[in-house]
Amino acid sequence: MSAVVASARRSRSSLTLWLGLLLVGLHVAVALLTLVWLPYDPTALTGGRLAPPSLEHWAGTDRLGRDFFTQIMIGSRIALIVGISAVAIGGLIGVTLGVLAAFATRLLDDALAATLDILIAFPTLLIAMLVVAASDTASLGTAVLALGIALSAIVARLTRILAKRVLLMDYITAARTSGTSWLGIVFQHVLPNIWPTLSVNFALQFGLAVIAEASLSYLGLGAPPPNASWGRLLQEAQGTVYTAPIGAIAPGIALVSLVIGVNLLADGLRDIGDPTRRVSR
């Protein structure tokens, strides 16, 4: 019985992985395509205003007559750039802080842990909003930096917990007694051991970052035009939702498909990377 359940679970987790890869791959392909080819010039006024979807304009046109599908394609590129760079920044700051806290003296560790707990009580979006507000100009870079900082608290807390668990292991004691420096321990033992869990978490954070960036743009705190962020497209389309509902739907579908893709990918990777989840239960 349990063998049947386990194999069903395994086949479902590989389905999850493939579906995730497919969705993410689609967005990566579109994003790469936009670098060399676009259906229309994104700023050109190519058709009637707020035209419904047609063979020429798959998602219709916006209030100025620009092709909407072209802008959604560019949105894929921006979302991927935002997601990857925000996770990279958040990961770098977060892992560094987390490892330092795990190695630090009791007092410093407690202080860092308490600060992180407070920061995590605030939603990513709110912290990002404050960081954006603290910088003079709204740009894609600011939004990415803000999200990276906001995510770093989550990464730091996770890293700290994982690293502390690793540091209790016998092989760490062995490495210490054989004279490995603490930097050596970090790079040879701690990071390789916590990496599988961290990377799954990074995938989830990528999804968080994409949603948060879209929300920032929706609130008018994101990248200014002509960056076609899905959030900004949706915000503009909300005003014309009576006449052209497609504009308020299509960018959302693009966004959700990317986030679901990454989440599925993370689920699939976790099931592969963690054998206990495969067999037990």
Partner: protein
């Protein structure tokens, strides 16, 4: 910490107050008025002193008392958050339990898939979709706004909150459902349920008598976090539905560099978030006597 973060905002509020055309003398006068000519330490001391007396100052822009403005705004955000939250529990509890108990049936799996979709949907898009369906196609509810008289106009205010509450509820329900499902799964697999079953109680009876109390503890701590997040995240929903809540006050204050307002909103929010966390902690101890002996949760 709040104070430091806010002072990092570049741009003197005096400049923001007067606009580009102001003369040096006007700026100096405005600085004296808002206190940004004082040394940082003096500003900090007066800030802390005022907080202790619950005096959050007056807005740089509107000159209105920050506290009374927050009070007005809370009359929108608090009902929005709490009603949305209660509706979410009503949706998520039964569905989550069904998804766990009937995981091998198609509807159990379907519930799980829908909740997977739900956590990937940004709040604002869900809001826009709900507006499109209920306000534009069905014309059942207004697409946004709030009566100027507020709750004095009870019927209109309630109708104005219907769609925002639904949006908030669906967003929380999607993530709550996953926690309820996994808590239920843990309960089902546990020894005490097996024992109860072996002693002759039916599956549902065992679940109700022993499962709920045990399953509730982790769910309540999630509930506390979700409530706090919803409260702080109300800014997006309020923007979608053009509601004059606390979140839109914060957004406007950030855009206008209205420090007292930003500070006040953050202060009150932090206070509420801490209170919610405290309440969730108490409730957990009430349900699970094992937690009572333990010192504060780290």
């Amino acid at each position: 910490m709040l104070f430091v973060l806010l002072r990092l905002l570049p741009g003197d509020p005096a400049n923001a107050l007067l606009g580009v055309g102001a003369t040096e003398a006007q700026i100096a006068a405005a600085r004296t008025q808002v206190g940004s000519d004082q040394p940082l330490l003096t500003q900090f001391v007066s800030f802390v002193g005022n907080l202790a007396r619950f005096d959050l100052g007056t807005s740089f822009v509107s000159k209105a008392s920050v506290l009374s403005e927050i009070g007005n705004r809370l009359s929108v955000t608090v009902p929005l958050t709490i009603l949305g939250f209660l509706l979410a529990i009503v949706i998520a509890l039964p569905l989550g339990i069904i998804a766990a108990v009937k995981a091998d049936r198609w509807y159990g799996a379907a519930i799980s898939i829908v909740s997977q979709l739900g956590i990937a949907i940004p709040v604002f898009w869900l809001g826009i979709l709900i507006v499109t369906i209920f306000a534009i196609n069905l014309r059942l509810f207004p697409s946004g706004g709030f009566p100027l008289k507020g709750w004095a106009n009870f019927g209109e205010a309630a109708v104005a909150l219907a769609l925002p509450v639904l949006t908030v509820a669906l967003v929380i329900a999607a993530s709550l459902l996953r926690y309820v499902r996994s808590a239920t799964q843990d309960v089902i697999g546990s020894d005490y349920i097996r024992t109860a079953r072996a002693l002759g109680s039916g599956f549902v009876e065992a679940l109700v008598r022993h499962g709920i109390r045990n399953g509730a503890v982790p769910v309540i701590s999630i509930l506390g976090i979700e409530l706090a997040t919803t409260f702080l995240g109300a800014v997006v929903v309020e923007k979608v539905f053009a509601l004059p809540g606390l979140g839109s006050m914060l957004l406007l204050a950030i855009q206008q560099r209205d420090y007292p307002n930003v500070q006040g909103v953050l202060f009150i929010s932090t206070l509420l978030v801490l209170l919610i966390g405290f309440a969730a902690d108490l409730l957990q101890r009430f349900i699970d006597p094992r937690l009572r002996g333990r010192a504060g949760v780290s």
